[in-house]
């Protein structure tokens, strides 16, 4: 009976050895399975990336192409005007005005190209990135909203009570930069139209320039 006493007092289990063994095996199993998941994950990432690259390229190609149509057409027009000035009136004082305008349009085109490169290099965070970060901070439940219908915050569940955080969609440019580029372009169009009128060039050209707006 003494062994029984020693067991109850020491708190040890007579099957301790086996329990250790089982515990070790279960940890090994767990670690093996985690490794499988990781291996699968890595392979999955590679496969997914490869599959989506071309699709992304095609999408981006169309998006990028649309960005430069107007400014580059304007550049073509102004370049042609410059050539015409050069051939018709080599001493024309308007040549300097045309050169300046051409330089500005070219710079504008370059800003658009830079903007495209920059925007997609640093995309704004997606809704899921933000809600994940918020979860980590412990300030929001997994649903991404503070409390659903009972939410008191004014700008949280405003979006139809769906509980989405208010984050802009993956937009091409920030609103500010977009506005200023548009304004700048409108000014350039205006200057070109004025030039066309001053030089007495055909009115159809004005219509074409307007179509670029």
């Amino acid at each position: 009976m003494s062994w029984l006493k020693s067991v109850s007092f020491s708190g040890e289990d007579v099957f301790d050895e086996n329990a250790d063994e089982l515990n070790l095996q279960s940890r090994e199993w767990s670690s093996n399975m985690k490794r499988r998941v990781r291996d699968g994950y890595v392979d999955g990432v590679d496969a997914g990336e490869e599959a989506a690259l071309q699709q992304g390229f095609n999408l981006g190609f169309r998006e990028g192409a649309a960005q430069t149509v107007a400014v580059s057409r304007l550049k073509g027009v102004v370049t042609a005007i410059w050539c015409w000035c050069e051939s018709q009136h080599p001493e024309n004082s308007a040549k300097q005005t045309v050169s300046d305008l051409l330089r500005q349009v070219t710079e504008h085109e370059e800003s658009i190209l830079e903007d495209i490169k920059r925007t997609l290099e640093n995309p704004p965070p997606s809704v899921s990135d933000i809600s994940e970060a918020m979860e980590d901070l412990g300030s929001m439940p997994a649903g991404g909203c503070c409390g659903g219908e009972k939410c008191e915050k004014s700008d949280c569940c405003k979006e139809g009570g769906k509980g989405q955080t208010v984050v802009p969609q993956q937009s091409y440019r920030s609103l500010d930069s977009s506005h200023s580029l548009e304004n700048k372009f409108a000014v350039l169009l205006q200057q070109c139209t004025q030039l066309v009128t001053e030089l007495g060039l055909p009115l159809e050209l004005t219509a074409y320039i307007e179509s670029l707006r």
Binding site: A47, F57, E63, T68, R73, G76, A80, L205
Partner: protein
């Protein structure tokens, strides 16, 4: 024999479990990778599309301006120039930039550039200026 079968079953279920975990990891990784690939591809595509469109649109604006200018001139020289300009414009119309994977794209771009050079020489566009807007186009396709 029943012990052999038991150990086979056990083995099978271990392999199945491994595959299942691997599969779950794969699925999650695939989604992540696809998102990344889409963004990466989109970035490259956008830069490429913007450049190509800039070049093509430049030709368009240039040609339209000359078309407007030449339409009221009926002398033979002007008529020849007009023909070249209009040929460039119709070529531009036939070469939309909607499919970057199209094999026709490279061929179209080469033809457009050749036509543009021809129009420039007919219009006596100064050589040094031609260099200016060539370099402004960036890399060719």
């Amino acid at each position: 024999m029943s012990e052999q079968r038991r150990s086979d079953d056990l083995f099978d279920s271990i392999v199945m479990a491994e595959e299942r975990f691997r599969g779950e990891g794969y699925k999650e990784g695939y989604e992540r990778g696809a998102h990344r690939g889409l963004q990466e591809g989109r970035r490259h595509g956008a830069v490429h599309g913007a450049r190509l469109s800039a070049e093509v649109s430049f030709y368009h604006g240039f040609a339209v301006m000359w078309q407007c200018l030449l339409q009221n001139h009926t002398d033979p020289k002007s008529r020849k120039r007009m023909k070249a300009v209009e040929a460039l414009l119709s070529q531009l119309e036939r070469s939309p930039l909607d499919n970057p994977q199209s094999e026709k794209l490279k061929e179209d771009m080469d033809k457009l550039r050749a036509k543009f050079r021809q129009v420039c020489s007919m219009l006596n566009v100064p050589a040094d200026f031609r260099d200016f807007f060539k370099s402004a186009q960036g890399t060719s396709f």
